[in-house]
């Protein structure tokens, strides 16, 4: 029931995005701009690219993700649609599930398009496992979307939510950013440091689990703020 209602909200958000294309276009524009700026900023030597590449892609992913998070609840503020959702016979947690799925989906679309661009612009060849890289990006994005949606709902009730959200979000997602950047670096260079990689993946999994469960208990109160 909870998942079905969340799925309906996710479908509605996708349909809204399909009609307007506001969020995905701004996310893609931002990530492409990051690629271009960094491509000009760093000399194209192999050593420098290897050192900064993991950080660059996560800067693009997370900052573009914030644009998506900011919009997730803004569409519900117009005409008091959030109240319409709360009046319906569904658990408030289903709103959280729908919004998290929406943010996660849009971020994944943006990542699928911008990651190959990063590789082309920097003439970078992935040495390590592509499957592991996909896993890290999946876990990092999921963690970012779960925390971001919870805080997005909290910030949505404030006047300057678009300024507030990044300020409260980034200190909390620091562990996931560090783990994602470090794990991505280890995979891209194919350094073979399996133990370190497993440690970062564990951190990502635990973080994701905590922030998948915590909002199920907290989200109803977040909406009351």
């Amino acid at each position: 029931m909870l998942l079905r209602q969340g799925w309906h909200i996710f479908q509605k958000d996708l349909l809204l995005e399909w009609h307007s294309k506001q969020v995905i276009s701004s996310m893609l524009t931002f990530s492409v701009l990051v690629v271009v700026v960094f491509a000009f900023a760093f000399p194209p030597s192999r050593g420098i690219t290897e050192a900064v590449f993991p950080g660059m892609i996560w800067v693009a992913f997370t900052f573009a993700g914030v644009l998506g998070l900011n919009r997730a609840f803004v569409s519900e503020k117009h005409q008091d649609c959030l109240m319409g959702l709360l009046l319906a016979p569904c658990d408030p947690v289903s709103i959280y599930i729908g919004k998290t799925l929406g943010t996660f989906f849009l971020m994944v679309v943006m990542e699928i398009i911008s990651l190959p661009l990063f590789l082309v612009f920097f003439d970078y060849r992935i040495v390590g496992s592509v499957g592991l890289l996909v896993l890290i990006i999946f876990l990092g994005t999921l963690g970012f979307a779960t925390v971001g949606t919870l805080l997005g709902a909290l910030a949505a009730n404030t006047r300057s939510s678009e300024i507030l959200l990044p300020l409260i979000l980034f200190p909390i997602v620091v562990p996931i950013l560090i783990a994602s950047v470090k794990a991505t670096g280890l995979i891209l260079t194919g350094s073979g440091q399996v133990e370190q990689l497993v440690t970062w993946i564990r951190l990502l999994v635990v973080y994701d689990l905590i922030f998948l469960i915590a909002p199920l208990l907290l989200f109803e109160y977040v909406l009351e703020v």
Partner: protein, 192 residues
């Protein structure tokens, strides 16, 4: 008060009984019996009339959704703009679609908060006909309005609230608009 009655917020004291059931644990079940029309429409501008109703119909688990959508849209006279985005609608059309949204799941209780705000004459007539139809089918309608004429015409009981408390309650039979205006001023302290 409407937020408490429609189970959006919990009362700080007292007990809320809706359709004989105490609100609380049964909130989700009771919410399915409630419809709300407010001056905000709860509609998504970038979705069409059909897509908006389809979304709310799924949330309320309305049976035979497609035919029900056609039915409510014809009741509010919006069949001809079924697939047009709501952002292209006039204020009156949006409010009529909001009425369709609120009655889509055939609620036992309908709450209306200043529903006449910004409505054109045609939309007022449609709203009144929908309300009359609902009253005839034994449903409770609770309307908050400052439009005395419309309120008295449609209701069989009136309440005057002052600072959250019922200051006056009576049946509407025999009360004129002018007489009620005087009663209202007396109770809210607005002079003679």
């Amino acid at each position: 008060m409407l937020k408490i009655l429609s189970l959006l917020i919990k009362p700080s004291s007292g007990k809320l009984l809706i359709d004989g059931a105490a609100a609380g644990d049964l909130n989700r079940k009771i919410k399915g019996k409630i419809g709300v029309i407010s001056h905000n429409t709860f509609l998504y501008d970038n979705l069409s009339a059909y897509e908006n109703l389809q979304f709310y119909g799924k949330l309320y688990q309305v049976a035979h959704l497609k035919s029900r959508i056609q039915e409510v849209l014809s009741q509010v006279g919006l069949n001809y703009v079924l697939h047009d985005p709501v952002r292209t609608f006039s204020r009156g059309m949006q409010q009529r679609l909001s009425i369709a949204r609120a009655i889509l799941h055939e609620p036992a209780i309908l709450f209306l908060d200043e529903p006449y705000t910004g409505l054109d004459q045609n939309a007022i007539e449609i709203l009144n006909s929908v309300l009359t139809r609902l009253t005839d089918s034994n449903r409770t309608i609770f309307m908050v309005t400052h439009n005395y004429e419309q309120g008295l015409e449609l209701s069989n009981r009136v309440l005057i609230l002052v600072k959250g408390r019922i200051a006056y309650a009576t049946k509407t039979e025999g009360i004129t608009s002018e007489g009620f205006k005087k009663l209202y001023r007396q109770h809210v302290g607005g002079g003679q």
